[in-house]
């Protein structure tokens, strides 16, 4: 899939490599880079996923990075019904109203 100029895209960039992270950190975090993802409008004429590109962000900043998504989707959702919670409402009403209500 490729993107063209003006498309709404997401890029990614390394802000600090592991050896550049000098804040006090737990060991696991120290081993990995500090990364950033940001969205904006593609400046390049065309680009493929994985390519270094430039975007213009919503506040008008120009930022370079690796193209990771075109028209990135919001992927979080309402989750699955949770068995441990489904009966809670019934249980509470039973305490309030006795068996009459169930």
């Amino acid at each position: 899939m490729h993107a063209k100029k003006g498309d709404w895209v997401q890029i990614q960039q390394i802000l600090l490599k592991p050896e550049e992270r000098t804040a006090p950190l737990p060991e696991d975090t120290q081993k990995v880079p500090l990364m950033m993802r940001i969205k904006g409008f593609l400046i390049n004429e065309t680009a493929e996923i994985g390519q270094e590109v430039e975007i213009k962000t919503l506040t008008g900043r120009l930022v370079k990075g690796k193209l990771v998504a075109i028209n990135p989707k919001y992927e979080h959702d309402f989750g699955e019904p949770v068995p441990e919670l489904i009966t809670v409402g019934l249980e509470l009403r039973k305490i309030l109203e006795g068996d009459n209500n169930v």
Partner: protein, 472 residues
């Protein structure tokens, strides 16, 4: 181009901040430790009347105070005879972006606009981002929200991702980072590059914005039940909501009201750990923030933090994640109010408190927050299961295991709390001061300041200092 390495940027912190916050903190600082807190709040902040005016302009505040009648009936059923206080909740989800954070953002964004800044920046993964974005939209300012959003495998909690979506919906640019305290470093980089205003959570503007919350609670409670609340229970993370609410209560005359902090116990999970990051559900109001900010407020992004929770805190209670999910379900099922779990941390603690307080007492829970995809218990528990957490029904107090197991109570009477010893919290405060400023001897003025800053006596502080030095 200036040097963007971590150390170079951090060494420019003061000059960047001065321009981005517009406060000359030097004016209030007396020594390393001592500063004139009240003078800072008066000179830099806005009066309560002015804040109410500013908030009215953008539709913030004047939220309803709602009695939880069904839950109160439930409490009466299961509490011992003569016990079972009434709980009221301040429905802050009715603010424009859906949380009390609109109050905190409103004054900063007003101030930024008034002083000609073109935009505002805030570093936050919580509701505050949406609030700043919403207020910025209302005042025609640009907005950048910097979020700690993903672990190193680009896995993000649904709640934080929902907040990113909300910020984008309000037209903000969202900078999403992987785990690490360098969020603050990169915020400085952005402040320097853009010349935008730092809508920090910890300036006097942000805290003055919350005072209206305490003020409204005092007035509305008096109107509804004829007296000020006996206790107000407040979810505690960075300390701003507690500080602002308590100050507002006092300004309204509710000086006897107990101020109770509540956090989720996430003992053992490190705030800055890449591995632990996705094992903390509803991402705020837990001990990882609550304790460090209470015991060393000046760890924040401004030279002197206006959020100083220990100045106002009477009690500090811990609850578990399972209890908060359970009470969230209870609020939806019995009261018809679907609200996000983070804000319900205080409701879980209030429920436990109500069971043991006399039936003529009144407890106010000072906030709710909006919910939606990503913020619901179903979204968060589905994610928790994916991250390998065990979810079970059981006894939350004895079986809860932060980072490993979430225990949903089997009966409402199992909702309880763990109370922290306030003197131990004060001791941690003094210990931090000693460590951060490398101090072992204190002047009378410093002892007095530490006593005020932790709501205790000078004698108590001197005793703590003596105890801490005793072993050496």
């Amino acid at each position: 181009m200036s040097d963007l390495s971590y150390n170079a940027v951090m060494s420019r912190k003061n000059e960047i901040m001065k321009r981005a916050v517009g406060i000359d903190y030097e004016k209030f600082i007396i020594s390393d430790i001592v500063f004139d807190y009240e003078k800072m709040m008066q000179e830099v902040g806005y009066s309560l009347e002015k804040v109410r005016e500013i908030q009215q302009e953008t539709g913030v505040g004047n939220t309803p105070l709602v009695e939880l009648k069904q839950i109160n009936r439930l409490i009466k059923k299961i509490a011992p005879k003569g016990k079972g206080a009434r709980i009221f909740i301040k429905d802050e989800a009715t603010n424009p972006s859906g949380s009390y954070k609109d109050r905190r953002a409103s004054v900063s964004v007003y101030h930024a606009q008034k002083h000609g800044y073109k935009g505002v920046i805030a570093a936050t993964s919580g509701n505050y981002g949406a609030a700043v974005a919403s207020q910025a939209a209302k005042r025609g300012l640009k907005c950048i929200i910097v979020q700690e959003c993903y672990d190193s495998k680009w896995i993000g909690q649904p709640e934080i991702l929902e907040k990113a979506r909300a910020c984008e919906a309000y037209g903000a640019e969202v900078v999403q980072l992987t785990v690490g305290p360098e969020l603050f470093y990169y915020t400085l980089v952005l402040l320097e590059k853009t010349g935008f205003f730092n809508a920090s959570l910890y300036t006097p503007y942000a805290i003055a914005g919350v005072e209206t919350l305490g003020y409204e609670i005092a007035k509305q409670t008096k109107e509804l039940v004829g007296k000020y609340p006996d206790a107000v229970v407040i979810t505690h993370a960075g300390g701003g909501i507690l500080t602002g609410t308590a100050r507002g209560l006092k300004k309204a005359g509710a000086v006897e009201t107990q101020v109770v902090a509540a956090s989720v116990n996430l003992k053992g999970l490190h705030m800055a750990s890449d591995n632990d990051f996705n094992k903390k559900y509803f991402t705020t109001g837990h001990t990882g923030f609550g304790l460090p900010f209470a015991t060393f407020p000046d760890r924040s992004d401004v030279p002197k933090n206006a959020a100083r929770a220990l100045r106002y805190m009477d009690k500090y209670l811990l609850v578990s994640q399972g209890e908060v999910f359970y009470i969230t379900e209870m609020l939806a099922q019995l009261e018809g109010m679907q609200r996000g779990p983070a804000g319900n941390t205080s409701l879980a603690a209030a429920f436990a408190l109500a069971l043991e307080m006399d039936e003529d007492k009144v407890i106010v829970v000072n906030e709710t927050e909006y919910t939606g995809a990503g913020k619901l218990p179903s979204a968060q528990l589905t994610f928790a299961k994916k991250m390998g957490m065990e979810i079970k029904r059981g006894d939350p107090i004895n079986e809860d295991l932060p980072g490993k197991r979430i225990v949903i109570p089997e009966h409402p009477s199992q909702i309880g709390y763990i109370e922290l010893n306030m003197d131990n919290v004060r001791k941690s405060y003094v210990k931090e001061v000693m460590k951060r400023y490398n101090k072992r001897k204190f002047s009378d003025e410093e002892i007095k300041f530490m006593a005020e800053d932790t709501k205790t006596t000078e004698e108590k502080i001197m005793q703590i200092v003596k105890d801490l030095l005793g072993g050496e």
